[in-house]
């Protein structure tokens, strides 16, 4: 079959990304032709500022080399500007007469700088700041001349001014509005920014109206004249007062334009379905985006439809802003100015150069403006996107996620100040240098891409803020994302919540049935979605949905914990952390008999046997003769206890017995993630109940319950839940809370994250206020756990495939 012809007008970042996405999913469908008005291959326009500032070179910001076009069979007309689209004949024509016919047309004409209509705007030395040519002009001018005026104190203007200053010019920034970057910053942050830039040597004229650019005899600009009569000398005037979507060509072709080329959610123009538009020139639901992440999302959707898959929709993005002036950290998002019905939390330290403002409306974060310390920008942005209630963390909100509990990245919060050898991601041992290198060499833009390539922040995620800062400095990328919903994995567009809901609403009981119902794109999922679906099925339909061992991680398939060399660790259950001489003797004998190299006492008050060969697992379990400890599973691990009132002179309650009772009631309980409990016999809290999923503290008059604590990546103190009197109540309230988490938590979401997501008030309403509901939850948990097998002893019932423990022999048939 003859290939269809795809012509792209505009050789910029959004357009080329669309082609890249298209080549990824459907490389053979089109003959691709690209027209670019600039005589360059696709380069990273955001990084023009570092080039101007002398921090990077032009070569370094090229994203797709000439060879890339060649290797992918793309015909590139660089330096040719398309001047006409003939929609009837389906042909485009360039200014040099080149014609190309198309079946599909992709318009990525970007935007044009807005030039103030003042006398003298056509003089020599008056330029905009938009492309490589402008940048080169500025660099050349800075070498010959001294005085520059930048008109416009927005993002682009300040970056231009900073660059020119670094190149040795004397720069004055003229800004008509009352403070800098008024569309991204409030007045306080704007003035802090001005102060900091003044300290670096920039001059400002705030509130000044430009009246005229005055030229010299040589036809070159000489000075700028203002309405109040002031005159400032200038050898160079840079206009950076804004950009306009470039719709000239589209309008000429009679495509509907309204502050951009109007497109639908599929990125097709509303006028002509053969014509697509992405990038700064496209107006989607009334917005023309200028940041990378939304444009790349558009690119993905456009590519999907061009490839005739027909399943992507672009539904708009929330955006955030950062300034690329090295050494200045600022961040803003949402309704940072506040307004009617909003409240503000403000922290201001003008001497320390730190200012933070959070805008809250109806218990939700709706805006943020940060100056000086932006490491929590991504966290605020996430809260803003998710639109979740912040009532429960309101008092901690200002101090940021890193101060809710802090570990894993040495408290670093300024990526720019870090050396290349400094470690960013402690989990995966990734330093700053290797992240920068990967970003540059592989052309990465988004957090997801950096995670995939470098693994930085891909494990515990506590360094996410740092990684995002590094992306910002290195690639100029931003990290806006589509609001709220995140797909479970690459196999589907559905979120965890949607899958959970569908399983419940439609009584789905098998993985295959769920995937078919929800139109999975892959035949049998992947290692991310299968374990999640399997958990959702068995937790939603206990005793009905059948567990699928092949969809569980190896630990839950072999019922032991895999180690780095492929051996396993075995941790038998010791109720409440108590053991006996007989048990210890059996353990000692097993260690000798199977030559187990390491025996270690765990943090959960049990004994870990490390380095057990898989072939020995069944015998080890049998010889030890103790119940399975589930130390490997997304399930109840242990109930840690202190000695309690039986022995301890301070003990007020029998915490050990309470712990044993809890453990016996809850063991074999699978959950979205691991679950750890503790019971302390007095407020001295020797069992560390404050950092457990459910922590119980005995007091003289009863028991206090704390929930959603975590001693892991981020230490999170448990939140006080309720106080009860009796042992039965401890069981019922703890069980009901855990059942709610089991029914509603997303796979791999710890209780702390679940409670943060839904809010403690909601959990209290369900478990504390609704007595019937609590009893029902507790009953459902008991029903689910009733008769569940011990996988170490009831292999059949637990569906343990015992064939896995035996090796086949290359020497012949299995013995």
């Amino acid at each position: 079959m003859k290939k269809m012809k795809l012509v792209m007008v505009g050789n910029g970042m959004a357009g080329v990304r669309t082609i890249e996405e298209l080549l990824k999913i459907s490389p053979e469908l089109y003959d691709v032709t690209v027209f670019g008005a600039e005589p360059h291959p696709n380069y990273n326009r955001i990084l023009l500022s570092p080039v101007l500032a002398g921090e990077q070179t032009l070569d370094e910001i090229v994203l797709n080399s000439w060879e890339w076009y060649e290797q992918n069979g793309i015909r590139l007309h660089a330096g040719k500007k398309v001047v006409e689209i003939d929609r009837v004949r389906r042909v485009v024509r360039a200014d040099d007469g080149t014609e190309e016919p198309y079946d599909r047309l992709l318009l990525c004409t970007g935007s044009n700088p807005f030039i103030l209509p003042v006398p003298g705007k056509e003089l020599g030395g008056v330029i905009a700041y938009r492309d490589i040519a402008d940048t080169n002009t500025m660099i050349e001018t800075a070498a010959k001349y001294k005085k520059a005026v930048v008109i416009g104190g927005g993002l682009l203007g300040l970056e231009a001014a900073n660059g020119l200053m670094k190149r040795g010019m004397d720069v004055t920034v003229v800004h008509v509005m009352p403070w800098l970057m008024e569309r991204q910053l409030d007045d306080v942050a704007g003035k802090l920014l001005q102060k900091s830039l003044e300290e670096r040597g920039l001059k400002f004229m705030i509130g000044a109206h430009t009246q005229e650019l005055v030229g010299g005899d040589d036809g070159r600009v000489k000075s700028v004249k203002f309405k109040d009569g002031t005159v400032v000398d200038a050898d160079l005037v840079v206009m950076a007062v804004g950009i306009r979507p470039n719709t000239e060509l589209a309008e000429k072709a009679r495509l509907h334009c309204n502050r951009g080329i109007v497109v639908s959610d599929t990125m097709q123009t509303v006028t002509d379905a053969r014509i697509y538009s992405v990038g700064e020139c496209a107006a989607h639901r009334g917005i023309a985006y200028g940041l990378v992440a939304p444009l790349f999302e558009q690119a993905k959707v456009a590519a999907n439809h061009l490839a005739q898959f027909g399943i992507g929709r672009y539904t708009g993005s929330l955006t955030s802003t950062k300034l690329k002036v090295t050494g200045i950290d600022l961040f803003s998002a949402g309704e940072f100015m506040g307004g009617e019905g909003t409240e503000q939390i403000v922290m201001s330290d003008p001497f320390g150069g730190v200012y933070k403002k959070l805008v809250i409306k109806d218990d939700k974060l709706v805006g943020a403006c940060l100056y000086g310390d932006t490491v929590d920008g991504s966290w605020y942005f996430k809260l803003l996107r998710e639109g979740r209630t912040i009532a429960d963390l309101r008092d901690k909100l200002m101090f940021g996620e890193s101060n809710l509990g802090d570990a894993g990245h040495q408290g670093q919060n300024k990526a720019a100040a870090m050396a290349d050898a400094d470690e960013v991601c402690g989990c995966n041992g990734v330093n700053k240098g290797s992240i920068c290198k990967a970003i540059k060499e592989k052309g990465l833009f988004t957090l997801d891409e950096v995670r995939k390539h470098t693994k930085a922040s891909a494990s515990c995620g506590s360094c996410t803020g740092l990684v995002e800062q590094i992306i910002m400095f290195t690639a100029g990328g931003d990290y806006s994302a589509t609001p709220k919903k995140k797909a479970m994995c690459g196999c589907t567009d559905h979120s965890h919540q949607e899958v959970r809901d569908a399983i419940r609403a439609n009584k789905l009981v098998t993985i295959a049935g769920t995937m078919a119902f929800m139109e999975w794109r892959t035949p049998n999922g992947c290692a991310t979605c299968r374990p999640a679906i399997n958990y959702y099925l068995i937790s939603t339909w206990p005793k009905e949905a059948r567990d699928d061992p092949q969809s569980r991680y190896i630990n839950e398939r072999s019922h032991a914990n895999i180690q780095k060399d492929g051996t396993y660790s075995v941790i038998p259950r010791m109720w409440g952390g108590e053991t006996t001489a007989a048990e210890l003797r059996r353990i000692a004998d097993v260690v000798d008999k199977y030559k187990i190299p390491t025996v270690k006492v765990t943090g959960g008050q049990r004994i870990d046997l490390l380095g057990v060969k898989k072939e020995d697992l069944q015998d080890v379990w049998k010889d030890i003769g103790m119940p399975c400890g589930h130390a490997y599973a997304k399930a109840l691990r242990t109930v840690k206890t202190c000695v309690g009132s039986e022995w301890c002179r301070f003990g007020t309650q029998d915490s050990t017995q309470m712990g044993k009772d809890l453990e016996k009631a809850l063991w074999r309980m699978y959950a979205p993630h691991k679950v750890k409990l503790a019971v302390s016999g007095c407020p001295r809290n020797c069992a560390e109940s404050g950092i457990k999923d459910v922590g119980v503290i005995g007091v003289d008059s009863g028991w206090e319950l704390y929930v959603a604590g975590n001693g892991g990546i981020k230490t999170e103190a448990g939140q006080f839940f309720c106080k009860v009197k009796t042992r039965e109540e401890v069981l019922e309230y703890s069980g009901a809370f855990l059942q709610l988490y089991r029914e509603e938590g997303w796979y791999l979401e710890r209780t702390v994250h679940y409670v943060n997501r839904v809010g403690l008030d909601y959990v209290k309403k369900k478990v504390l206020d609704d007595h019937e509901g609590r009893k029902a939850l507790w009953e459902r948990l008991q029903f689910a756990l009733d008769g569940e097998p011990d996988p170490w002893f009831e292999h059949d019932k637990a569906q343990v495939d015992t064939r896995q423990f035996t090796k086949l022999q290359a020497e012949g048939q299995e013995a």
Partner: protein
Amino acid sequence: MKMNDWKVICRVEDIPVLGSRRVARPRGMDVAVFRNDQDQVFALLDRCPHKGGPLSQGIVFGTSVACPLHNWTIGLDDGCAKAPDEGCTQRFSCRVEGGHVLLDPVELATLALDVQPPRAGPCGE
């Protein structure tokens, strides 16, 4: 190579659907045989190119397996890591005849004999 030169290892149904079995060799590391949901069978050295994880213990999906240690995805047909990860593990010829899984004894006796298993524990490092 003639059919009778191949070694019968097991029957297809001895391998779980979307699962695998380990095959011990007299010398060298184990070979993992995988079965997908189309009853295709594949054989790879049981060692992830990343940090040596036992691929036989991973989750099988499509024609890939996810390594149990760090979740690299390895193609069952070519033994190579999916982008952006890089690296390949030794693949072994494998065929199914009359419901039997067959491996090539010459390959079993000669391929990847020097590859060392990952080590752990006090004697390791």
